[in-house]
């Protein structure tokens, strides 16, 4: 049994396997399928300052080895989260991270302040990369100046672990990562979904109500791996890698590319127990390869 624990900012994760925002509800949706406290951490559904109804149906299109979504951050707002959802999840014995999104710098800051007041939420994941909302979201994450501004302002009011989730829909992800690190982010998670589109040829119409949406699943894995590797060369803070992970081997690949922890997203829909299987698989791999700790594996890709 290898040592599986890793550190992200001030968080100590019992293992590097987390679940990704928007794919794992508030954790409790999965309690029938697995022991959710066995996970390294859970990132709950994207939360905004105000209630959001999300985008109109249809919001999803299946693709080969993946899916497009255009949910649009449907949630009942930060106050509702604090009053109604937080009491139900605060005693889950794994770090519960809240994904925070906004439509303006001010709304990110106010939302982060509300979440900061919740004792058992040890960190937030700042979502500057949602492709499915008209204002804000990805708009902040596609320029160094925008990303830096929102991280700077949130950092002023948020003393706990601050993870920033990056968009892959940029020309140079390394420079965005550096901008975010320079403003005091504790960790970077990537990638959010890849902007995509699906068309119904028979109806000559887009499948999604929003025309475009975010692509996720195994089809994006090579893009995600490449970006994790690029960011690993560019920053010193720990990286949480994600994008199409659907088994332990994918997870190991992300760690070799430079991830300290990983998140499992879309594949939770296909196998709601996958995160537990990935923990077991990583452990067996480490034992088989003679590693004493998963930390020895981080960025241990051998090139040349």
């Amino acid at each position: 049994m290898a040592e599986l624990s890793v550190n992200i900012g001030e968080l100590r994760l019992k293992n590097p396997v987390m679940t990704a925002s928007g794919t794992f509800g508030y954790g409790i949706e999965y309690a029938d399928f697995l022991d959710i406290s066995s996970l390294g951490g859970i990132v709950v559904k994207g939360t905004t300052l105000e209630h959001r109804e999300g985008n109109p149906y249809p919001r999803m299109a299946e693709t080969p080895a993946g899916m497009l979504n255009a949910v649009g951050l449907q949630n009942k707002g930060a106050d509702y989260f604090a009053k109604t959802i937080y009491p139900k999840i605060k005693d889950i014995r794994t770090p519960m991270i809240v994904n925070v999104s906004g439509s303006s710098v001010e709304s990110y800051v106010k939302c982060a302040e509300i979440i900061a007041s919740l004792d058992n939420i040890p960190g937030i994941e700042l979502n500057i990369s949602c492709p499915n909302v008209k204002e804000g979201g990805m708009a902040f994450g596609v320029s160094c100046a925008g990303a830096a501004e929102v991280v700077r302002e949130v950092r002023k009011v948020y003393p706990k672990t601050l993870i920033v989730k990056l968009s892959p829909n940029v020309t140079d992800i390394a420079e965005i990562a550096q901008a975010v690190e320079a403003e005091g982010a504790d960790s970077i998670s990537l990638i959010n979904t890849v902007l995509g589109m699906a068309i119904d040829a028979e109806k000559r119409r887009p499948i999604l109500s929003t025309v475009t949406g975010g692509l996720s699943g195994p089809c994006v894995k090579p893009i995600a791996l490449r970006m994790v590797w690029q960011v690993y060369q560019a920053v010193k803070i720990p990286i949480i890698g994600m994008g199409g992970i659907s088994n332990w081997k994918d997870a190991v690949e992300f760690i070799l590319a430079g991830s300290t922890a990983i998140q499992i997203g879309t594949y939770n829909f296909i196998d709601p127990t996958i995160s537990a299987k990935v923990i077991t698989g990583i452990n067996e791999y480490l034992d088989r390869k003679g590693f004493k700790s998963v930390q020895e594996l981080i960025g241990a890709l051998e090139i040349g």
């Binding site: 928007g22 794919t23 794992f24 509800g25 949706e29 999965y30 399928f33 559904k45 109804e53 999300g54 109109p56 149906y57 249809p58 919001r59 999803m60 299109a61 299946e62 693709t63 080969p64 080895a65 993946g66 899916m67 979504n69 949910v71 449907q74 699943g217 195994p218 879309t266 939770n268 829909f269 296909i270 196998d271 709601p272 127990t273």
Partner: protein, 256 residues
Amino acid sequence: MLDLEVTGNLRLHPNYCLLILTAAEPLPDMLPGQFVEVKVEHSSTTFLRRPISINYIDREKNELWLLIQLIGDGTRRMAEYQTGDFINLLLPLGNSFTTDIPGGKGQRLLLIGGGVGTAPLLYLGEVLKKSGYQPEFLLGARSQGDVLQLEDFNKIGPVHITTEDGSLGEKGYVTNHSILRNAEYNRIYTCGPKPMMVAVAKYAAENTIPCEASLENTMACGFGACLCCVEDTQDGNLCVCTEGPIFNTEKLKWLN
């Protein structure tokens, strides 16, 4: 999450198959209107599970029946499953039709299905009958050959039929059937293509009959995590997989 064994896969029609599944252990309790999510192996274009409504539960034989319309690669793959294969399912999912009905056992209940939407009505009818009600069925199809499981429905209660080409029963759509003009019903249950269910909901509203409809919005997870399958209701966007698939049609915005 369970691995169930295929004990039969009957091709009822070129476009439909009846998949019969069992397990060594007793199957969990399942209610009429609930659904399962089937993992489809060996289909390169099928990534997500396929949500399929529960067609019938045979408690004595410990069988779960799934009636499947062959629409895309995933459902065509399911038609190829053979006896002895194991398939992985999430079950049971969603809410259920109302089977404990205020107002007593003598009420007239009409179960209206169209196409493969007749699937959940078989189990619903069976449960209603066992509870002491006398359900009636109104089944619509394109043509005689598309009227599925007629013998099974006949065992439960009276069956009224419409076909679009008039090859069986009355010609036209279910909402044109004379039974809707000549009889008074206390409650309607419906499942089928959305235009049909909207027409049924409209008939129910005009005649102040409580009506429940089974929705089939496309979904990714089936258990309330992805928020993809929402229906715009009087209470805002609700997940069909957890708040439904059965909705009282008054709660929907179909008639606006």
